[in-house]
């Protein structure tokens, strides 16, 4: 029994909640009318989305000439935004898959939202490779589909084709993983639904979930397998994205350290975005006891590590350029730091190397306002990192006769704003219709599940043993993961529900009183 939890360790989720209260708190935002704050956020996001739709329509109808590109700088905002959004998505997969395999139970409060964030970020990212094309209506040419054009096929030597595979795989696996993880919660929503339409929709989506031990067993197996499938994607997707640059011959792009450097940067920016979103969510939704300061701290610690890798990569790039003795390489990097786009470079260094150093201080890590501000700065820095890599390498390349400057147009800025609109619109709709915290998983780490034996017989067992592990009490129903909720929970839950349905309205206001996480 390797998975005992020390009784000395603080529970991840406070003990002052019963299982029913937890269900109630997470499900309630979906069962009441949206709040004023939600409407304000939604209208702002939706306006940004409309602006984006306008800008993309103008660009697709008129031509890529509506962007500020020229013959020297062929990519700028488009691919910058693409890499930025793909990077944002990586933290979601890291939290949901890698932290699951490493049995980091603190992931349970944030994995659902982080995975949703991944999906929406990949949607935003996937837009750019399509709209950046001169003829986006022929984007399907990049897919190896059977055709009657003789030997016409895609170019498997091109990293853009690898990209197409990497991103579509990433989106499909993330979506399936997210959906499978949602099943038990969809069933909870179905069971709580009062209207017939809600019941029908959640019922259909929950795929006939019945909460039996057999269902849980299969669910756990599938979830583990999908976590295994998603794990390599965390590393592979951004490695392949980095090869869009690394396989070229342009000084500043042609760099072998790109794959690990990009993956670290992706996780770094992704955690910054998770923090931004989670800090808003815990305030707006009143989930301070679910998404605790400990979660915030853990994420900032990951950011110190990945930010360190990114900072090290910046230094390595300069060293390599100097040590190579190649004049073009040396020029590309001195132009980056001291050329006309030096301001972008120093924003990048400031936000990505200096800002995470604040997280060494516990006072800053535990101050939600400070972490929120710093996480936004990190996102700004990571956006500039991609801008610096793409634009400063392109604008002054081999021949001074082709050097040029780049400045974005309104259409490009509007498209970037529009993707933020798309992202937040999707996210706000998500927290309205789906449980933004995994109800089933959070119960397994709640103080309630640890302290109180879940049924009478298990309570007796646990009283004899000092080691407080539900797995030991449950007699190890299967061999993996700290994720299985207490087995008798399904019966427990239905009992709770009977009681709960009656006192639902009465209990609603009472459970926000204690904020034990802080």
């Amino acid at each position: 029994m390797s998975h005992a939890v020390s009784p000395l360790r603080e529970p991840l989720v406070s003990e002052a909640r019963t299982l029913h209260q937890l269900t109630d708190e997470i499900a309630r935002p979906m069962e009441r009318r949206p709040t004023k704050a939600w409407w304000c956020a939604f209208l702002a996001s939706f306006s940004a989305l409309v602006l984006g739709v306008y800008c993309v329509s103008v660009q697709v109808m008129t031509g890529v000439g509506t962007w500020g590109l020229n013959k020297t700088v062929g990519w700028a905002f488009d691919i910058t935004n693409f890499v930025f959004w793909i990077g944002i998505g990586h933290a979601g997969t890291l939290i949901s898959a890698i932290l699951f395999l490493f049995r980091q139970k603190w992931r349970t409060s944030i994995n659902r939202s982080a995975e949703a964030m991944t999906l929406f970020a990949v949607m935003c990212a996937g837009l750019f490779p399509i709209i950046h094309m001169g003829r986006p209506w022929f984007a399907y040419f990049a897919a190896p589909y059977p055709n009657d054009r003789g030997p016409l096929w895609v170019n498997f030597r091109s990293p853009l084709v690898w990209d197409m595979f990497a991103i579509s795989t990433y989106f499909i696996i993330s979506a399936v993983f997210w959906y499978v993880g949602l099943l038990p919660d969809l069933a909870t929503m179905r069971d709580r639904a009062k209207s017939a339409i809600r019941k029908a929709i959640y019922g259909a989506l929950s795929l006939g979930w019945n909460g039996s031990q057999r269902t849980w067993l299969r669910y756990e197996t599938v979830y583990l397998l999908l976590a295994g499938l998603a794990t390599p994607l965390v590393l592979s997707v951004h490695s392949i994205v980095s090869m869009d640059f690394a396989t070229s011959i342009l000084p500043g792009w042609h760099t072998t350290i790109f794959p690990p450097y990009f993956v670290a940067g992706a996780v770094f920016s992704g955690f910054a975005m998770v923090l931004t979103l989670m800090i808003i969510a815990r305030h707006v939704m009143g989930w301070k006891h679910l998404i605790t300061i400990r979660h915030v701290e853990n994420m900032t610690k990951i950011m110190i590590a990945t930010g360190g890798i990114v900072g090290f990569a910046y230094a390595t790039e300069f060293f390599t350029a100097w040590y190579s003795g190649n004049e073009l390489e040396r020029f590309a990097f001195s132009n980056r730091a001291f050329g006309p786009y030096a301001w972008a470079y120093w924003i990048m260094v400031g936000c990505n190397v200096l800002i995470p150093q604040f997280f060494w201080f516990k006072k800053i890590r535990t101050s939600v306002a400070a972490v929120f501000a710093l996480s936004i700065l990190v996102n700004v820095g990571m956006w500039f990192e991609r801008f610096v890599i793409i634009v400063t390498s392109l604008h002054r390349d081999f021949l001074p006769s082709s050097w040029a400057m780049y400045a974005p147009t309104f259409i490009e800025v509007g498209t970037l704003v529009g993707t933020f609109g798309l992202f937040f619109t999707c996210f706000l709709l998500f927290i309205r219709v789906l449980p933004a915290v995994s109800i089933a998983e959070v119960k397994a780490v709640s103080g309630y599940a640890r302290k109180i034996g879940v049924t009478t017989e298990f309570r007796e067992q646990s009283a004899k043993k000092p080691v407080d592990s539900w797995r030991e009490r449950n007699g190890e129903p299967n061999g993996h993961g700290g994720r299985t909720p207490p087995q008798p929970q399904s019966t427990q839950r239905s009992e709770e529900k009977k009681k709960g349905d009656k006192k639902e309205d009465a209990g609603a206001g009472a459970d926000l009183v204690t904020e034990a996480g802080e």
């Binding site: 094309m133 001169g134 003829r135 990049a142 016409l152 895609v154 070229s248 082709s402």
Partner: protein
């Protein structure tokens, strides 16, 4: 600068849809109706000689259309284009030679730039033919290629300026 028609062209490896490929003649060709316009080829081109059709350039006016070369297809917007070494003239020259029942002779095919250069500074021909004028110039000792350190194998090469260091002018 014009396209160097690299033997080992960096633009060709990065195109996802194989819209830029090498011909058996050694030309780096752009297939306009296959091009989706990712612009990666232009980004990866060291001399930056590719040009993108940023907009749909209207050629609807019948009078305006008369200035266009009827032998060259009009490229639509969103398509990359580049020097084709006057592939239409090469094809015509080959066809003429075939009709006459003889191999293409040196000087049969002249590119538009070659034809219009008053100084006669541009020479076009078959490098594989040791008797051709262009092959002789390449072997002349004045010939050099750009970006040799990148190993892209440009086919278009240049001749160095003739200098006379002994003269007073030093040019």
């Amino acid at each position: 600068m014009t396209c160097l028609h690299c033997e080992n062209a960096p633009c060709e490896t990065v195109c996802p849809v194989l819209a830029t490929v090498h011909s058996s003649d050694g030309l780096n060709q752009q297939v306009y109706n296959r091009c989706v316009g990712t612009r990666y080829c232009a980004n990866n081109c060291p001399p930056k000689v590719r040009r993108f059709n940023w907009f749909e350039y209207d050629h609807g006016e019948p009078i305006e259309r008369m200035v266009l070369n009827p032998d060259v297809v009009v490229r639509s917007r969103g398509v990359m284009e580049k020097c084709s070494l006057c592939v239409q003239r090469i094809q015509a020259g080959k066809a003429d030679a075939k009709r006459a029942g003889r191999p293409v002779a040196d000087g049969d095919i002249r590119t538009a730039c070659q034809q219009s250069c008053p100084a006669g500074a541009i020479v076009f021909g078959d490098l594989n033919d040791p008797k051709s004028r262009v092959a002789a110039l390449v072997k002349s000792g004045r010939n050099y290629r750009l970006f040799e350190d990148l190993n892209i194998g440009p086919v278009v090469s240049y001749l160095t300026k003739l200098r006379n260091p002994g003269s007073k002018e030093g040019v």
